[in-house]
Symmetry: C2
Subunit: 210 residues, 2 copies
């Protein structure tokens, strides 16, 4: 162990805590799960007193908010990358779906936190409205796959439908009830792509309204 696990030598008074706290929280979240994510534990991990965080976040909730926001940004990055590296624009959606589920599985506690609307504030944050957000990427991929970019309402509905579907898949795909089916299909990835293939069909139905 070095000091706080972070670089530099504390450039300011104590360093810029808020960032260090968020990083510490995320570390704890992934290593020990949401149950172990106490404000005191975060402070401990960051090497400060239990009351120190209150000079940077009003609440424990506000800290979690910041952690969740970081999660959204990381996930958007993963989605961008998945779209960029797709073999063809038509396959971008499936690629995004796989990357999305992979992200959710690699950071399960963070992912759950991101979608926890119990904390009164944010859900998918304002970040979703920006140009490089995951949401925008999915919308773009839908257009690339043949959606009509001029029917904005249908396009938005399709984006939402896609997002919701993959979100559900991400949260449920490693339920133990599906275990034998996965085994019979020759592995997890095959299972994932099969379900995504089901979703894929509605992508192509966007043109005809009824």
């Amino acid at each position: 162990m070095r000091e706080t696990g972070n670089a530099q030598v504390r450039p300011y008074h104590h360093g810029d805590l808020s960032r260090a706290l968020v990083e510490a929280a995320r570390r704890i979240l992934e290593a020990e799960g949401a149950a172990a994510l106490s404000l005191r534990a975060v402070a401990r991990e960051a090497g400060v007193s239990p009351a120190a965080p209150y000079h940077h976040f009003r609440d424990k909730t506000e800290l979690l908010e910041a952690v969740a926001r970081g999660g959204w940004e990381a996930m958007s990055d993963a989605i961008c990358e998945a779209r960029r590296t797709a073999p063809s624009p038509g396959e971008a959606l499936a690629n995004i779906g796989v990357a999305y589920v992979r992200f959710a599985r690699e950071n399960p506690a963070l992912y759950r936190l991101m979608y926890d609307t119990t904390r009164d504030r944010t859900s998918m944050p304002e970040h979703a409205k920006e140009g490089d957000s995951g949401y925008q990427q999915v919308q773009g991929a839908l257009v690339d796959a043949g959606a009509d970019p001029h029917d904005s309402r249908e396009l938005e509905l399709a984006t939402i439908a896609s997002w919701c579907a993959v979100h559900g898949l991400a949260e449920m795909s490693n339920f133990k009830e599906f275990k034998e089916l996965k085994a019979a299909m020759g592995g997890d990835e095959a299972f994932l792509r099969a379900v995504l293939r089901h979703y894929g069909t509605f992508t192509l139905s966007i043109g005809h309204k009824h």
Copy 2:
């Protein structure tokens, strides 16, 4: 306030607590949210000492488990009802979807608890395997809608895809980001049915394998 809010006169030693505790927990969950659901608060609400629950549940987790199980049963009932009262077998799926989302919205904290896989044990419990479970109902509705009941693998995949999609919709559908779209579409129900219509298309694609 009567006594514990429950009927009868305490038929046994103190009454059958475990049931009373689960009901108290559910009451608190819906009234005050998951954050307020402490074991002590449950005991208080049930009118017993903080240590009493430990004679019926090993853990707080085990109590939550029981609450979640009750939630799954209630949701299965709602799904059965929705399928039974559908205008036609072909419309049963959409009806189920709407009922599902409605259930999730009316009991948001309970719904979130049901899908919380952080608690090490159950997810969708063994209950899902029984004949009247929601899962089985959806599968039946898919067959009614034209799915091939003999291709069991594809049928199961379609069931999973449907379930995941509606689960995602249930959790995300009242994100504030969708607010204006809903308004533009003339209300929440219209929005829901529109997204479900997108999902509906893959139901019909089950026959042709590729």
